[in-house]
């Protein structure tokens, strides 16, 4: 589904991503773990088009996507969430979600003059779907709250809801669980798994090992910009390098 080949990105003298090379199999929930500062978020930015690689290629669904702008990448069916949530603070939660669907007729300004009926119909469907998705993400009671007034965890949930509005072919999740209440997270995990069963591929950065071990197949481990491990969950916990760099002696 997604191939990252020898990708390098440096900031000044430091190589944040240093020849990372791995693949995300179609239909998988691939976990991406690694110590803080390993380059995971930077890699997401490279895949999603927010940054342009210095070298290397990124292939999504058989086509190169490195160098495309984020909105183009999104239109190819690849969506992402942000590690530090980026809601549209002065818009309501409902409208944050309603914004997300692509190809809305009403986004072409003259359609609002020339084809008001079509726009209204789409908006109604869009609104109903937004209410459903938000309800699912535990934000059902916050529909008309300004997104900027949400608590930290709620903003993360909103971030997730926005990508779910589109059912893209692949979703990049950057630490979806950080700051989210564990009980709620469990429902979200169920949703991710359910979506995955319907064919959406996930690449997921997470430090919550319980979560990673439970749903991620395979797991990719990065350290200092490089991929140091690629394989199954069980093998990860036995890999000396991973233990040393990442897990410490904590894993249960």
């Amino acid at each position: 589904m997604l191939q990252v080949r020898q990708v390098v990105k440096s900031f000044g003298r430091m190589n944040a991503v240093d020849g990372a090379d791995f693949a995300v199999p179609q239909g998988s929930i691939t976990g991406l773990i690694g110590p803080n500062g390993a380059g995971k978020t930077t890699l997401f930015n490279l895949i999603a088009g927010s940054l342009i690689p210095d070298s290397g290629t990124i292939v999504f669904d058989g086509q190169r996507i490195d160098g495309l702008t984020p909105d183009r990448v999104f239109h190819r069916g690849l969506a992402r969430t942000f590690q530090i949530p980026r809601p549209f603070p002065k818009m309501t939660v409902l409208e944050n979600a309603m914004l997300a669907p692509t190809r809305q007729a009403g986004e072409v300004f003259w359609s609002n003059w020339l084809r008001p009926g079509l726009v209204a119909a789409q908006e109604k469907a869009n609104r109903d779907r937004a209410v459903e998705v938000l309800g699912f993400c535990g934000l059902g009671s916050k529909l008309s709250e300004l997104a900027g007034n949400l608590s930290g965890g709620q903003q993360k949930l909103l971030e997730l809801a926005r990508v779910l509005m589109n059912e893209p072919r692949m979703i990049l999740l950057d630490e979806p669980a950080a700051g989210v209440n564990p009980t709620l997270m469990e429902t979200l995990v169920d949703k991710i798994v359910a979506l995955n069963r319907r064919g959406i591929t996930f690449l997921l950065i997470e430090h919550n090992m319980d979560l990673v071990m439970r749903i991620c197949r395979p797991i990719v481990v990065m350290a200092q910009g490089k991929v140091i491990f690629e394989g199954e969950a069980e093998a990860v916990q036995r890999d000396a390098r991973v233990l040393d760099a990442y897990l410490g002696d904590l894993p249960a």
Partner: protein
């Protein structure tokens, strides 16, 4: 009595023309977050385009084609749209203060062109033989003003309706999202550049329209109509009225312009003629104080921004608000 009515009609006409500019700015700033500090430049392009197209021919000048009013208005909007597109293409990626100072510079440049390119613009003398629509039909200036006021009401209403249509809809929602967080909007597949450019051109076109209306109302245009102070006045209107709200922009135009001119009346009545010069200073101080007071009492403007953009999102909540 008829005198006061006649003055009020005139006053209201100016308010509507300024109001159209304020609506254009509100589209750019209130909804899209584009800091256009070059309003007066686009206003000038519209005004001069209209004047050049419609004014009676004069041998020493290029232009002055004597075309019908409506052609002038359409031409003015087209010319402004083109200018805005070119300016937008070069500057739209700049943010905040940078965009402001660039557009400001463009406005200064445009004003200098109107001042220095005599063959086209008449230079500092301006262009004067600009026809007013159906002026000949009316016996009195009041009759003409009343008709033109009616025309302005119709145009403003159309503009308002057209804007509400596109803003309280998905298009407006994307604009607002881009204003709030460009990166996040881009990550959701919206192209900030394209939308910002659309809003910029559309808003500037309204400013050009206002320019055309202004010259065909006044019948004279010169570079001195386009000093930077006007840009500030329009900004004050949008801020005082409440940015992100079209009714606020129109109300702001009324309030700010009323302050600007009513303070003059007050001073003439209150200050003895011997101190007229100081009176002028007091008037401007008064304007400044009123502006400050408005901002201190209503920092978010008279009519605040609405939190819901799309009118469709407001339909009865299917889950009964839970």
């Amino acid at each position: 009595m008829i005198g006061i009515v006649s003055y009020l009609v005139f006053f209201a006409s100016i308010v509507l023309i300024l109001g159209i500019i304020a609506l254009g700015l509100n589209l750019q700033w209130g909804y899209t977050g584009l800091f256009n500090a070059g309003i007066v430049g686009f206003y000038a392009v519209g005004a001069y385009a209209h004047a050049i197209l419609t004014a009676a021919p004069r041998p020493e000048l290029i232009g002055n084609f004597g075309l019908p009013w409506i052609v002038g208005v359409a031409g003015a909007m087209a010319a402004t749209a083109l200018a805005a597109w070119a300016v937008g293409w070069a500057t739209i990626r700049l943010r905040g203060d940078y965009l402001a100072i660039s557009t400001f510079g463009i406005a200064v440049s445009i004003q200098l062109v109107t001042l220095n390119w005599e063959a086209l613009t008449g230079g500092s003398q301006g262009l004067s033989a600009i026809p007013r629509p159906l002026f000949g039909w009316f016996q009195t200036p009041f009759g003409f003003n009343l008709w033109f006021f009616g025309l302005l009401v119709a145009i403003t209403a159309t503009v308002y309706w057209g804007l509400e249509r596109i803003l309280r809809a998905p298009w407006g929602r994307v604009l607002k999202a881009i204003r709030e967080d460009e990166t996040a909007a881009e990550a959701l597949g919206k192209s900030p550049r394209a939308f910002r450019l659309q809003a910029f051109v559309l808003g500037s076109t309204l400013m050009g329209l206002a320019g055309a209306l202004y010259v065909s109302f006044i019948g004279f245009v010169s570079p001195f109509d386009f000093m930077p102070i006007l840009t500030f006045q329009i900004w004050a209107m949008v801020i005082v009225g409440g940015s992100g709200n079209n009714r606020g922009a129109l109300l702001g135009a009324l309030v700010v312009w009323a302050i600007w001119s009513a303070s003059g009346v007050a001073i003439t009545k209150l200050v003895p003629p011997a101190h007229a010069a100081q009176g002028g200073a007091v008037q401007v101080i008064l304007i400044g104080l009123l502006l400050l007071l408005a901002l201190l009492l209503r920092p978010r403007g008279l009519i605040g921004e609405e939190s819901v953009v799309s009118r469709h999102a407001n339909d009865p909540d299917p889950l009964g608000k839970s």
